[in-house]
Symmetry: C2
Subunit: 187 residues, 2 copies
């Protein structure tokens, strides 16, 4: 059963969106091709009409999801607060793809690794631009340190089994970043 050109384009988008959510939620390995297709409302047969392999799906999903820039209305403080919230910790499927997928990237193909690398490069730039600092060197250092702490904290918080400690990791990291940022910005 052939479908219209637009229908096919939408199907492709649905597959990428479904894959994006499933991968973030369960990791690349734990999600099967058939599972992705079912979540997109299709069967497994049509998969290889859209992608050449599961690795290809992974690489394209990363490019797709990392291209969708986070809102970041310039308000870094608000962004950090939302990022380090229990809500974001508990919503891996809909949350930051970096936090959900970076660690897995190490074992993926060069195409996937490159997609993640470029995503991280622009994310660091974006944070740097949102920082209040003046000195470019300070700006760069704060952007990288801040992003490493954010991603690390969410990953740690998601691993921890004790709600109190998990909450504390988020909250203390938020406070630590706060002092780290406001320290240099002399307003």
């Amino acid at each position: 059963m052939k479908v219209s050109r637009e229908q096919m384009a939408e199907n492709r988008r649905r597959i990428l969106d479904a894959a994006s959510r499933l991968f973030r939620d369960k990791g690349f390995d734990a999600v099967s091709v058939a599972e992705v297709m079912k979540a997109a409302g299709l069967t497994h047969g049509g998969f290889y009409g859209h992608f050449s392999s599961k690795d290809d799906l992974i690489a394209q999903t990363l490019a797709h999801v990392l291209a969708a820039e986070p809102s970041g209305g310039g308000d870094l403080r608000a962004y950090v607060d939302a990022y380090l919230s229990p809500r974001h910790r508990d919503n891996a499927a809909g949350g930051c793809p970096t936090a959900g997928l970076v660690a897995d990237i190490r074992h993926q193909t060069p195409a996937a690794r490159s997609a993640m690398t470029e995503g991280l490069r622009s994310q660091i730039d974006r944070i740097g631009k949102a920082l209040p600092e003046l000195d470019p060197a300070d700006r760069r250092r704060a952007a990288i340190g801040c992003w490493a702490a954010m991603v690390g904290a969410v990953i740690l918080a998601r691993a921890i089994n004790d709600p109190a400690l998990s909450d504390e990791v988020l909250e203390q990291t938020r406070a630590w970043i706060d002092t780290g940022i406001s320290q240099v910005s002399a307003d």
Copy 2:
């Protein structure tokens, strides 16, 4: 072929050590039971004499490897330097089990998650004790923020495909932690 009591204990240790290295290197899913046994110098048959399942192996491996405290001769600065070095980034199999395995923990059994949680709890305490700060609240905040940044930076650096950016993430995070720590410790 039965083996001596001590031989069996050593075999068990060998299995846990092999599993620890393989898991850190390739992730829980990508390592098969047979692969672990072969790396320990045995065949896959004896596995279920030592462990009740692969999940059991994962949980016991975590408890085993997290119990081995990092040297931490009290010199936090040196520890952070080594942690955020290219050498550590490139040596996942022999490196920090937290950096190599936390992200995967989210999908593991409660036993595995609890082992990791306790490992993180003591690691945070250990860093806190090594900090120069006086105020207990500052100490706690710095320990958690610092640890989140360290783990996050190594995970990011291992994912990134571009050596220059990867090195920079390590180096800038080191500098960011440095200013964050020395800021409060007024000596």
